[in-house]
């Protein structure tokens, strides 16, 4: 038996129960660990299975807390013994409180940008026909090196274009974003993954702005979602 962990908060009341069911249809409860409270369920089974019901239950409990305050969500599948949780909180209390202050009053919004990588690569080849000319008549060694050079230049160019795309998004959103976690993957179709921390009161304005930006770039596909608990802003840097 252990404690399944949903989230941490410093604004919930200890002993409170939430009006939703959690993992294994057990009602979650709030336990006090100093200034920080944890929302947990007592579970018998371990490991926790990744089923649709369990994933939704995890999210449902945290969403219920989100209706009252912004907590720090745990990743799905966190099961610990009570003393382990206590030790974790005790040894990280200052950093956890700092994280709670960082996300207070905000939600996470997500923007993923999908590009047609083949089209981007194709566009480059169209604009650089000289590469092919250079390779004509060259021996196998030189051809190999030229091909390698072309490949490296291609990667570098994709990296630059991906970076510019991320900067364009960031500048477009400006001060609507309190904090951000951005990942750029030039080699993937999903080239930019951005998690934005946005004040609750500015979510509508943020959405409107993202829609406006997406209309500027019909060559890209935008996957937007939120509001989420601040999953991307809930990790302790070692």
């Amino acid at each position: 038996m252990g404690l399944y962990l949903y989230c941490l908060s410093d604004e919930l009341k200890a002993g409170a129960t939430l009006s939703v069911t959690g993992i294994a249809e057990i009602a979650p409860r709030v336990i006090e660990l100093g200034a920080i409270k944890a929302v947990v369920s007592d579970v018998q089974t371990h490991p926790v299975r990744v089923t649709k019901d369990n994933v939704i239950a995890h999210e449902r409990v945290i969403d219920c807390v989100m209706a009252q305050t912004t907590p720090l969500p745990f990743r799905f599948g966190s099961v610990v013994k009570p003393d382990e949780l206590q030790a974790y909180i005790a040894s990280n209390e200052d950093r956890l409180r700092s994280l709670l202050d960082r996300v207070r009053g905000a939600v996470e919004m997500s923007v993923k940008i999908i590009w047609d990588r083949e089209a981007v690569v194709g566009e480059r080849a169209k604009n650089r026909p000289d590469d092919l000319v250079k390779a004509e008549g060259a021996g196998p060694g030189l051809s190999f090196l030229l091909a390698k050079q072309k490949q490296m230049e291609g990667r570098q160019e994709l990296k630059i274009k991906a970076g510019l795309l991320a900067s364009w998004l960031d500048e477009g959103l400006g001060r609507l974003v309190r904090d951000r976690v951005v990942t750029i993957n030039p080699a993937d179709a999903m080239v930019v993954r951005a998690a934005h921390l946005v004040e609750r009161g500015r979510v509508a304005e943020y959405r409107e702005r993202v829609n406006w930006l997406s209309r500027e770039r019909n060559d890209l596909r935008f996957l937007t979602s939120g509001a989420w608990p601040p999953y991307s802003f809930s990790h302790l840097r070692s």
């Binding site: 490991p47 926790v48 299975r49 799905f76 966190s78 047609d116 999903m190 999953y231």
Partner: protein, 77 residues
């Protein structure tokens, strides 16, 4: 398992919605070192497939590799 750009571009809205939930719930959030152990034994493969799109390739390869080696595979984070 490989997912092509075309697969990603052709995802339906409902699949993307599920993908987004899984991306947040399975890949992010507070972690107490060594304390995440999830069973993927009975997982619907669409979950695995969608998670590939948003999670790290290494992670999913680890999951699939362990599935092949054990009846009750675990993903240790």
């Amino acid at each position: 398992m490989s997912v092509t750009d075309k697969d990603l571009l052709e995802l339906e809205t409902s699949e993307l919605s599920l993908l987004e939930t899984l991306d947040h719930v399975l890949n992010r959030g507070l972690v107490i070192a060594g304390e995440i152990t999830i069973s993927v034994a009975d997982i619907d493969l669409i979950f695995v497939g969608l998670n590939v799109l948003v999670g790290s390739v290494e992670t999913i390869e680890e999951v699939l590799g362990e599935r092949a080696e054990s009846d009750v595979p675990r993903l240790n984070d």
